[in-house]
Amino acid sequence: MRTYVLRRLLGAIPLLFGASLLIFLVFALTPGDFIDGNINLTPQRAAELKALYGLDRPLWARYLSWLSQLLHGDLGFSLQHQIPVSTLLGQYLWSSFLLALVSLLLYWTLSLAVGVLAAVRPYGWFDRVVTLLVFAAMSFPVFFLCLLLIKWFAVDLGWLPVGGMISIGSNATGWDYALDVARHMVLPVLTLVMLQAGGLTRYVRASMLDALAMDCVRTARAKGLPERVVILRHALRNALLPLIALLGFELPGLFAGAIVTEKIFNWPGVGHIHIDTLAARDYPVLMSFTLLLAVLTIVGNLLADVLSALADPRIRLR
């Protein structure tokens, strides 16, 4: 098991370098840079600034200096925000994480419950209704869903705030603060849950159907175990194995920020600044953030493998 993890870690190193090179090239080859986007500059001033930011240096030199910076643990300095990239990301990353984590927990719970129930009686009325709802939820364009929810719950009914993370000027702390944030989170979380739960429910249902068809489930029934035990202990535990790997893949998503949802709900998340920095060609932020996601993807893959190995004695005890 440990050698397995170590081997995977070793394999991730060239992948990381490849990713860093790819990310750098993609951004370096994009037309326009941080200076080009400023129409107020005279050509002379623009040239001075490009030299100041090192944007006039050859590609390889820029890559190498970025890389060596990274290897020293320095993510660089945001051109647009004039603060270290790590500080900048720190400001936004955690609210994205909060939003993503809460919706992740909710839609996993929901999908598991619904998917299992649907699989226990496949093609029953519950399954059919769930299938229909799942397809419906999967077929909504995100922004449309956001706007609809705002119109109903925030404007027409006035139950929930339109957007943001805290009430204006609020100095609440402790429980009041948590409550305030929770109230603001309801709609964006609802959106994300609706968007994500569909696919996962289908997956859970399929996996559960597979598991229910296993011989060992029949054995469990033949032993006279209560149906609840048969389903939860025998079938679900097997159905969870492929799902656990899926959980690992969610890792980068936790930090990527839901761009459209965050934007429309004014959630101060990282998806929000992502597009802004892109429009401004704030490369240090963009590259670091993209690389962060790449690292998280690799770690997520690794985690997925390790988690499923841990969950499955056939791999764990090989």
Binding site: A19, S139, L209, I275
Partner: protein, 316 residues
Amino acid sequence: MSVLSLRLPWRRGQAELVSLAAVGRTPWQQALARLWRNRPAILALLFLALMVIACVAGPWLLPWDLETTDALAANHPPGAGHWLGTDFLGRDILTRLLHAGRISLAVGLVSVVLSVVLGYVLGALAGYAGGWVDGAIMRLADLLMTIPSLPLLIILGALLSELQVAPEQRIYLVMLMLSLLGWTNLARIIRGQVQSLRSRDFMLATEVLGLPLWRRLLVHLLPNTIPTLIVVATTGVASAILNESYLSYLGLGVVPPTPSWGNMMDTANSFVDFQRRPWLWMPPGLAIFATVIAINVLGDGLRDALDPRLQARSAR
């Protein structure tokens, strides 16, 4: 033991029955018959066919021109002349809707075709060749998986305009980019399938029979991966259509004045239009919604029909 046998005894019985009852039918005919019995899937297919016909033929039959603007007829609600009303430039919504349908559907198809070709070829190659070829292709797939697609799309979109691509065609190139990133999923699936098919007895048999390589690949190996391909491709079209609407929302998709369902729905972004002019966003919204549902239902039906054991493992 029969490869198709499921583990439950009654299932095994049924699998046997299926094969005995359907005498004289090719596997494709069998699949069609199974599909035919799936009423929702057939309804979905019918709906899609109607949608395609309407989008292809509709704009010719309607009296309105796609691009001619008419400031006097701006923002008319649905009525006798303009059945679905007009937009802020006085263009007929129905005409634009159907025209947009052509584009959205074409975009969906094209991007899927591209990513499917890439994913299929690379996946099959990796699965069949094994060794360093497999290693290289799969590492490339790993690498692409680490790159989040959105920034890439934005950047590639910008690159495209640098290359002087005509705006009507740009969306296809954007979708090409999506394909360049999106093939990995299918490649993995196909690779796995090819690997397992390769070690199946009938592939060993082709070797023992001394069949030439091309025949082993084209007649024996690859046709058996087609069902998976069809299912993945179908659901791919649905997500491509949603992607297009998403990209158009971000200003990266189909650019006006060329209409697409995605950029038409953009109007919903204006609170006033959202509140007061539902005819602007409802038709494209419903079109996307219904089409995507129909494709998903059809995909589900195809999955059941083509390979009852192939599970709903589509990428979310």
